[in-house]
């Protein structure tokens, strides 16, 4: 249950970040880059839809989403340091990525312990 909630929560956060990015609210609009946020959100969201009996499958969405978030986090950090992007949005993206990444690692440990 907890993981379902985590996946749902993360997907909501990523979706809203993506919509802000695409619409250009509080940050310059960038449609393809916003698309990346949406895809990461979708990866988490589909974890919620997985067959509840199949726990590894749910966790795998958290893990892969976390990995994608990790790279996006680095990219956002570079944006923040070198390109004077909007402080709030980009630092928010970095924090969200970091949290997703940590949860992803946790999900990975859980999957590995399951064999």
């Amino acid at each position: 249950m907890a993981w379902n909630l985590i996946n749902l929560l993360l997907s909501l956060l990523w979706f809203s970040a993506g919509i802000l990015k695409i619409a250009g609210i509080g940050t310059p609009s960038d449609i393809p880059f916003g698309g990346v946020f949406l895809v990461i959100g979708a990866v988490f969201l589909w974890g919620v839809f997985e067959d509840p009996v199949d726990r590894p499958k749910r966790l795998s969405h958290t893990y892969v989403g976390g990995m994608l978030a990790f790279w996006l986090g680095i990219y956002s950090a570079v944006n923040l340091i070198f390109y004077q992007q909007t402080l709030y949005f980009d630092s928010g993206a970095v924090i969200l990525s970091f949290v997703s990444f940590l949860l992803g690692i946790k999900a990975k440990r859980k999957i590995e312990a399951m064999r």
Partner: protein, 651 residues
């Protein structure tokens, strides 16, 4: 004393890692002319021996006709290595041992390496090497190539096998009685018909049954075997080999349960090849790599850019106001520097691709995208190469080496110049911003979409006209996921990126000097320079497109590197007193500007790309085809765009 060693094995069993572990830093990558798949060669100096190691392409069988398999087999047959090392995956050894059994029929001085025993132990099972040795009659070395475990033992054994050959007789493997009868009959025919055989008659007989045409090369006019009979026999042969392997595995492994996938691998695969998420994730990963290529590398590129212009100023200052100073600063330093600026981008991109390749995602990406590429008569593998082209066409063309089918590889090389590279972006940005300020973004998108469309249409066309071939089968193994190592990544990006520095560097150097001379002589007004004369000479050709001599010259210079188009235009147009952009806007109309963008999109790629096409196809003919095809398409497209937009915009 030199010992020639051939490394053979299935793809993805750690052959190259073992090769690097064996040869250490002395390895050099040799590009063998005329072949599409790389063979790597290296030397290990060990206990007074020169061990010359050849890393052959990964294969599953000696019998099939694909190019990589032919290279490996021909090396085995005709280059006569002293010792053959067969590498099998310790976790899933079946297919590796199948290849070993085929090789053992040909020769006995073989060493079997069971790689990645650590992963096997992590699964909780163990491997008894002596049991394997007993059953197979060859030396068996368990290794962990990534940690160099077992490497020195392997080197010792190579020397030992070479000195005492044949150490022990390999176990002669018997098939079913019906198969044995046929083999025996064939053996008799072979021995009576063909003398001076340097391969075992039994091996020839088996290969003949399995339908291998290489047999003709050793012994002509063997009695043909009828198709159905041949199929029945070869299925029986394969079945007996696997039965034998299963018996060996049962004896030699303890605690090995039925093969199962790691739960983490299964979990990752579930998401990465997901029905709905698979393709979006693929595009997300590609997009992230592009963004990294441009943005993360940019600060470094800027640093190089500043250093280059400082250096140019310094050269000018210290050499004084003469033609030599101008040659150095404006010609060589600025020209070569323009390419060096892209080095960080190239290396970051290869770092990203290295992560994809080492982790095992790349085959999954090919798998996910395969259906779309199949419609274009390409496979998912060539899509990866084309995607690279958006960064730069040169690495895109170089990366086609991993495409094993020669026809598909050629088509991919020929269409890749249409994928619009980052060097063309400045031209689009300049013209779109100047002539379509309201819709610059849409114009840019139109160009990129047309680029993909041109590449796709050309691929279908080339396949139809030139090859009429069938689609290439996608039989591919998805390896276990591995965490990429820093060492491996650096190795990868250096070995790939080095090509860019070497080839582009030398060509750009020469081109920069040439363009500087053409633009500066005779001294005085640019209008009278050699460059201008060339442009004016060719101007009539571009009359229908409404390009004047300045654009023509810029386009010619742009063949060295597409960025030069912008700088040449700025030189020529700014000499009229007005600012460069204003005078450019006054000189040409929007429809000409749009057609120019399309011309730039399709016409001759830069020198480095042409050189890459030449060196990768090994053919002047195909290089020429690519050049002419690009020019024709560019001209027709530009004309079409001009006419259509001319009508549409009412100019």
């Amino acid at each position: 004393m030199t010992i020639k060693v051939a490394l053979m094995g299935n793809p993805n069993v750690g052959k190259t890692t073992l090769f690097n572990a064996l040869t250490g830093s002395r390895q050099h990558v040799a590009n063998w002319p005329g072949v599409t798949v790389e063979k790597k060669e290296g030397v290990a100096l060990y206990k007074g021996f020169r061990i010359h190691v050849v890393d052959l392409p990964g294969i599953y069988t000696l019998g099939s006709k694909s190019l990589d398999e032919q290279i490996a087999r021909d090396y085995l047959l005709f280059e006569s290595p002293d010792v053959v090392v067969v590498i099998a995956d310790a976790v899933n050894p079946e297919q590796g041992l199948y290849l070993l059994l085929q090789i053992l029929e040909l020769r006995s001085d073989v060493i079997l390496v069971m790689n990645a025993v650590d992963e096997l132990e992590r699964e909780g099972s163990r491997l008894n090497r002596y049991e394997l040795e007993k059953h197979l009659g060859v030396h068996v070395i368990p290794t962990v190539a990534t940690k160099r475990e077992g490497v020195s033992e392997l080197l010792d054994t190579i020397i030992h096998v070479h000195q005492t050959r044949p150490a022990h007789q390999p176990v002669r493997f018997r098939y079913d009685q019906t198969v044995e009868n046929t083999i025996e009959q064939l053996e008799k025919v072979i021995l009576s018909k063909c003398e001076n055989l340097n391969v075992p008659a039994r091996w020839l007989a088996i290969r003949h049954i399995e339908g291998d045409e290489i047999v003709q090369w050793f012994c002509e006019s063997l009695p043909p075997i009828e198709g159905n009979e041949r199929k029945k026999l070869s299925l029986q042969i394969a079945r007996s080999r696997y039965d034998h392997i299963n018996v060996i595995i049962r004896e030699a492994y303890s605690g090995k349960s039925a093969p199962k996938r790691l739960p983490l691998d299964e979990a990752i695969d579930h998401v990465l090849t997901h029905k709905y998420l698979g393709i979006p994730i693929f595009f997300t990963i590609m997009y992230l790599i592009f963004s990294f290529t441009f943005k993360v590398a940019q600060p470094l590129s800027d640093l190089i850019d500043i250093s280059v212009s400082r250096l140019a100023e310094f050269a000018k200052a210290s050499l004084g106001e003469n033609w030599l100073a101008a040659l150095f600063s404006d010609g060589i330093i600025s020209g070569v520097g323009a390419v060096l600026v892209f080095t960080p981008n190239i290396f970051v991109m290869f770092l990203g691709l290295g992560i994809l390749e080492e982790s095992g995602y790349l085959p999954r990406a090919a798998f996910v995208i395969d259906r779309i590429m199949y419609a274009l008569k390409l496979s998912g593998r060539s899509f990866m190469s084309l995607i690279l082209g958006f960064g730069c066409n040169v690495p895109a063309i170089l990366s086609t080496r991993a495409i094993s089918d020669p026809r598909e590889r050629l088509v991919t090389i020929l269409v890749s110049p249409f994928v619009t590279c980052s060097a063309r972006l400045p031209i689009y940005v300049l013209l779109a911003g100047l002539f379509f300020p309201q819709n610059a973004g849409s114009v840019l998108f139109l160009i990129y979409a047309s680029s993909v469309f041109l590449a796709a249409v050309s691929s279908v066309l080339l396949n139809r006209v030139l090859f009429k071939g069938e689609p290439v089968p996608l039989i591919m193994e998805l390896p276990r996921y591995r965490r990429p190592t820093v060492k491996g990544l650096l190795n990868y990006s250096w070995s790939k990126g080095r090509h860019f520095l070497q080839k582009a560097g030398t060509i750009i150097l020469i081109a920069s000097i040439a363009i500087w001379f053409l633009g500066s002589f005779p001294p005085g007004n640019v209008e009278n320079s050699l460059a201008a004369r060339i442009g004016k000479f060719l101007e009539p050709l571009f009359k229908p497109l409404n390009y004047d001599w300045r654009i023509t010259t810029a386009l010619i210079f742009g063949t060295a590197a597409k960025e030069i188009v912008v700088s040449t235009l700025s030189t020529f147009y700014s000499s009229e007193g007005l600012s460069f952009t204003e005078s450019l806007r006054n000189s040409i109309d929007p429809s000409t500007a749009l057609s120019l963008m399309f011309f730039v999109l399709a016409y001759i790629p830069c020198f480095a790309t042409i050189a890459a096409i030449r060196s990768e196809t090994q053919s002047d003919k195909w290089t020429l085809v690519s050049l002419i095809y690009g020019l024709v398409v560019a001209y027709l497209l530009a004309y079409l765009v001009k006419v259509v937009t001319g009508l549409w915009l009412g100019i």
